[in-house]
Structures are given as structure tokens and as C-alpha cells.
Symmetry: C2
Subunit: 197 residues, 2 copies
Amino acid sequence: MSSCVDFWFDFASTYSYVSAMRIEALAAANGTQVNWRPFLLGPAFTAMGWNDSPFNIYPAKGRYMWRDLERLCEHYHLPLRRPSRFPRNGSRPARIVCAHQGAPWIPNFVRAVFTAAFAEDQDIGEWDVVAKLLHNLGYDEKALITAGKSTESKELLRHQTEQAVALDIFGAPTFIVDGEMFWGNDRLEYALAWASR
Amino acid sequence: MSSCVDFWFDFASTYSYVSAMRIEALAAANGTQVNWRPFLLGPAFTAMGWNDSPFNIYPAKGRYMWRDLERLCEHYHLPLRRPSRFPRNGSRPARIVCAHQGAPWIPNFVRAVFTAAFAEDQDIGEWDVVAKLLHNLGYDEKALITAGKSTESKELLRHQTEQAVALDIFGAPTFIVDGEMFWGNDRLEYALAWASR
């Protein structure tokens, strides 16, 4: 029995928002530990020949996604305000997470960033927005932002993104349990069930 | 309260197989009527700039899909044998359905075609394979194949495919209830719940 799920997400990804808000309670009830693994979808999309989100490149798919997301958020009682620009750049909050992998405050921070992005239409690609979120959570934003801005955090995120592509990850959210991949918010429960096999 | 779900599918589509095998029992339990709407994904894919299945164009996505399909079929107790060629051409069985829209034997025929394609690796793009399936079901295969080969059935399928694109359908299976679209086998239960609102 595995007790770990690797949760691969991009802060710019709509369905990652839904999973990020749901995963901790479900995993706890399942006795499964969550490894929070932010990465950038950009390089995976570039490898597929896309220079933008597929939801922008394929308008019918995009129109459907926004409606589907509305219904899902209603279903899960999650707030939603469609971002005025999509996708946002998720690299800065992702660098903060990479610089503090495994820290106990990461889940709270991740949820705060996703909420800012998808419920409050804030530009999470800006350092000052990220600093404000850290401050509001009661964390030492100055030290955390300094670590996030370091070359080391940039390298960690680049490495984690390369690892995602090497793992055959092509979208987000993706859950990996014992080498078994599950793609999409719809598969979160399947991934946790796999962890309990 | 709506009592109808339009079930849009392509006989070549892997996730349409799963939904085609599940929908009738679930819809009956829900008191919902199923309108079986075969169409061809080809024109929708062409509109997105694809000249093949995205599962072939994007290898990582394809590898994932086949594994996900295996798990789903195990979950739903459906037989699966990966087709030696993918995608098959679903136009011929689709023409049979279009020529007999609403006939009571359509659900049985649809399931027989999908089973041949995804559990028995038969080439459902061949008229003689389709004729054999009809014969095995005890239907008058000569009359039905003649109707399927008619120009009228070809026009009906072309018209239905154009209608799918006009409805913004970009993949299969797609379920439409009261103008509300649900994409993917994962949304079948959501679509039926919508029909009961």
C-alpha cells in the first residue's frame, strides 16, 4: 500500500485549481501523503507545438472548459471569478514552493495563490501580489520572496518542469501514485483509490 | 425536467465505447431517453488543424489514454483488446444508424459495433464486418446494408456531422441536455443529473 501521491500542478491551470482545493482533505481521509509538485505547462505545450493554452488555441474547447469549470465549482462549493487574462504566469509562486518543498505551510500557500487567481482575478505572476498573499497568511514574506527570487529556486523549478516532461506529463493536474499516472481533476479519487490498493 | 439526452459519439472513439456500453442502463434508471447521434470526429479535428487522432499526434497523451482506458474498462467490467489499427473508420456503421434513427434495435447494434472494435479488434470500417454483426443480432442484414450504402444515409451522416460542429462539439463522447454540453465519459453521470434537475 502506497501512502503518497505526487500532485503535479501549474498555478495557471484551471482544473489544477479545483484539485488543489480538494486534495488535502480527501488525501487525509485516505491516509495518503500529498507531495505538492508545481511545474510549468509551457515546455510540455511547446513540445506539442502549442505556443499558448490549448483553451485559447481551440476556441470551442475553451468555451466548454469555462462552462464546465463553472459547474464543477458550483458542485464543489468553490468560488470562481473568471480571470480577466488567461493564462496567468504561475512561475513566481511556483518558485516559492520549489524553494520550500515539504514545508508545512505549503498547502495553505498553494490554496491562497489559486484562490487569488481564480476567485479574485489577481495577477499571481507579480511578486508583490505573491508577497501580499504570504503576508496575509502571517508568514515572513520578505525572507520567502528573497528565497523565491534566488537563482536556486529558478533552477529548482526548471528541474521540476524537466522532470514532469520526462515523466510523460502532458497536462495538469496530474497525479502519480507508485508510477501510475492519473490526469485531470476527474481522476483525483481514482488516484487516491490506487494509493489504497 | 428534461427527459432526453443527446449522446454524440464516433464509433472510432475509445471513450465513446465506454459510454456506449454504460448509457442505456443509467439513463433508464434516471427515466431519461437516449438519442443516439453518431457523427464523424474527422471534420472537427480538421477544424482544429489535426489530420489524425490527437492520441496519435501527441504520443504522451496517447500512451496515457490507452492505460486510462484499460483501468476504466477494468473498473466497469468491460472487455478490452487494443485495436491493431487506430483509429478505425466509423463511417459505415454510423450510416446504418443514421438511416434508422430511433429504431428500437439501434442500442443493441451500437454496442455490438463498439464491442467488435474495442474487444475483438475487428475492422468496423468494412461493410462485410458490419453485415456479420447485423446477421448475428438476427436482423435483416441485406436490407439494412442496402439502406446504409444509400446516398441518403451518406447525406444524413454528413448533415449530422455538420450539426455536431455547429453545436461546438470538439470531441466524443459529448452529451447534450437542454442545450447544456458535457464532454467525456467522465461527464455521463453529470449529464443525467442535469436531465433530472
